[in-house]
């Protein structure tokens, strides 16, 4: 991958590998992942369930529990390798310099503590400030997210808020200590479309105002197309394609990305059967060598028996992990993967 001056990059992930080893199996949830995130950039991490995208997020924060383990790689964040830090050093950074929010805000917040208390805990975990000041900051953070009557919300319990509001509270919590990176794992999947649109708008506004970078993990290409500036596509624990959002969506090079795009209802104008990628998503413990998408790909040849590397794609920019990437010509002249 082309590396520019190191200072430009907020986060640089090199060859990250996270494995889960149990009596029954050895799962390579993250199998050699490289990518970078610039300051203030919104990067979309796209993949189906089982692709390892959530595990990437958790690995960055060092939240992988046994039987999982980060077995290799570096996670260089603001100049430090997170993978080499111990728990207490990581704890200083979590919620402070980088943060993560999850999918279902109902289960993300403890049901027996008031919202305000949970928010203030985040501030007090990293700074010594009075309760009154902390509360003011929480109130302000809720205001920025567009939540009305913030004082009432602070005194409420999580189940008393609506789903959208809860997620906004979580985003506010993540922003409390002004982190430079927020990893969001499917935060809008559990919400209805209208709320989702509102939150996406607010996130963009947040980024514009504060310069916080986002890694937006999702399986929903529609969301990512609206929000992200760069997209990373994951399959079976590896990044199979990366590139600028608009270009990638227009001209997908990897057959899997192409398949994903083709199965989007919005893309198929005519009343036809939605094309589907044959087979099911490979579980990350498929030990077969070579390209992991091989068994579902109609373009596969014997050359695919060797695992391709992530290579720069000159025609479009970005990179792709494929021996037979789809060219721009093919994209415009075919409806589906041939």
């Amino acid at each position: 991958m082309n590396m520019q001056a190191t200072d430009d990059y907020l986060l640089r992930v090199e060859d990250l590998a996270t494995h889960f080893v149990t009596r029954a199996s050895a799962v390579r949830a993250v199998d050699g992942v490289d990518f970078c995130v610039k300051r203030g950039e919104i990067v979309g991490l796209v993949g189906e369930s089982g692709s390892g995208k959530t595990m990437v997020g958790l690995s960055l924060l060092g939240l992988i529990d046994p039987p999982g383990r980060i077995v290799a790689g570096k996670v260089i964040f603001e100049g430090r390798d997170l993978a080499s830090l111990d728990e207490s050093e990581l704890r200083n950074l979590r919620g402070n310099r980088l943060a993560m929010i999850f999918q279902d805000p109902l289960t993300t917040l403890s049901p027996t503590l008031r919202v305000g208390r949970q928010m203030m805990n985040v501030i007090k975990a990293h700074r010594t400030i009075s309760t009154a000041q902390a509360r003011t900051q929480c109130r302000d953070a809720l205001g920025i997210l567009g939540i009305p009557s913030p004082d009432e919300r602070l005194d409420a319990y999580p189940h008393q808020l609506s789903g959208g509001m809860r997620q906004r509270v979580c985003i506010a919590m993540a922003m409390l200590n002004a982190p430079s990176l927020i990893i969001a794992d499917e935060p809008t999947t559990a919400l209805d479309v209208t709320t989702q649109a509102q939150i996406l708008k607010q996130v963009r506004k947040l980024r514009d105002e504060t310069g916080t970078a986002f890694i937006w993990i999702t399986h929903d290409l529609a969301v990512v197309s609206e929000l992200a500036e760069r997209i990373l596509v994951m399959y079976a624990g590896q990044i199979v394609e990366a590139g600028r959002a608009d270009l990638l969506l227009q001209n997908p090079c990897h057959p899997y990305t192409r398949g994903l795009l083709d199965s989007l209802p919005s893309r198929n104008r005519q009343a036809r059967r939605l094309p589907q990628i044959p087979g099911t998503a490979a579980r990350a413990n498929a030990v077969a060598a070579g390209c992991k998408f091989r068994s579902r790909c109609s373009r596969a040849t014997c050359a695919c028996e060797v695992l391709p590397e992530l290579r720069l794609n000159e025609s479009r920019g970005g990179s792709v992990r494929c021996v037979h990437p789809i060219s721009a010509f093919e994209t415009t002249h075919t409806e589906t993967v041939p």
């Binding site: 149990t22 009596r23 046994p66």
Partner: protein, 285 residues
């Protein structure tokens, strides 16, 4: 099959399993192993009463654990007592399980009012502690072997019913039940031949716990004097009989039966723990 390997591999299960097998064998072959039949008054000699462990009696018999106040060899008494305790517990468990599982499966499959009524009864019973219900039943029925068995059944069937119903409810939604229904199999057939085998996992875990509880309930009732009669002394009664002698230093009348009882129940419970951990999807934790 990997789960069975996990069970076998754990050191606790080997030890516990060994203890259980030992006790079962000892119980089955008690008449052959025991040097003396402690219920046969002709074999007893009062001269030998209250002999200490490892002593030899007037007839040349070796008393491994000593004798009680009637001259009974404690070791033989333990073997016969073990037999009784295990027989009662197993018998009661089998009936309680059959009854409970049938009720549970029935209510899961029938649904509606039947299910509501049955489960209401089960819930009501399960909200009371087992020993209390056992006492109530014994108070009503009196003491004796059959009454104790009935009491244990009365206490334990409800747990089986609830677990079986829960498991059956999950299974009811699965595709193979749908398929069987399409093939017009009768309800009882679907219930017992198809759903039941898939519910065996939680039921086996429950059974090990309940067997341990059955042994303990019987022993407790016998200890209190409201369980098995004196003519059929189970381990609980042996312990009770020996209690007054403890104060004068003759510990062996109570302690040895007690150790055997304790070891057996612990082994059964450890086995249950091991099985439960093996079936628990939390691997590697």
């Amino acid at each position: 099959m990997d789960r069975f390997q996990a069970v076998l591999a754990s050191p606790g299960s080997v030890l516990a399993g060994g203890v259980i097998v030992l006790c079962v064998l000892a119980a089955i072959f008690a008449p052959l192993i025991a040097p003396q039949n402690p219920y046969d008054l002709a074999q007893l000699s009062l001269i030998d009463s209250e002999s200490s462990p490892l002593s030899t009696g007037s007839t040349g018999m070796f008393f491994l654990f000593g004798t009680d106040d009637q001259g009974r060899d404690i070791f033989s008494a333990i073997l016969y007592g073990l037999r009784l305790s295990l027989a009662v517990a197993l018998f009661a468990t089998v009936i309680a399980a059959s009854l409970g599982v049938t009720v549970g499966l029935l209510s899961a499959y029938a649904g509606g009012r039947i299910e509501a009524v049955l489960m209401r009864i089960v819930d009501m019973q399960l909200s009371f502690p087992a020993v209390l219900i056992a006492l109530m039943l014994i108070a009503a029925l009196g003491s004796g072997v059959e009454k104790v068995i009935l009491a244990i059944i009365g206490v334990q069937w409800a747990s089986y019913a609830r677990t079986a119903r829960g498991a059956a409810l999950v299974e009811r939604e699965r595709e193979y039940v749908e398929a069987a229904r399409c093939l017009a199999y009768g309800k009882p057939r679907i219930m017992f031949l198809h759903i039941l085998p898939n519910c065996l996992a939680p039921l086996s875990i429950l059974a090990t716990v309940e067997i341990g509880a059955a042994i303990t309930i019987e022993a407790t009732l016998s200890f209190l004097g409201v369980g098995l009669p004196i003519t059929q002394p189970s381990l609980g009664l042996l312990i009770a009989n020996g209690y007054p002698f403890m104060l004068s230093g003759k510990y062996w009348l109570s302690v040895f039966p007690g150790i055997v009882l304790m070891t057996l129940v612990i082994a059964v419970n450890v086995m249950g723990e091991v099985i439960r951990e093996a079936f628990d999807p939390r691997d590697g934790e």
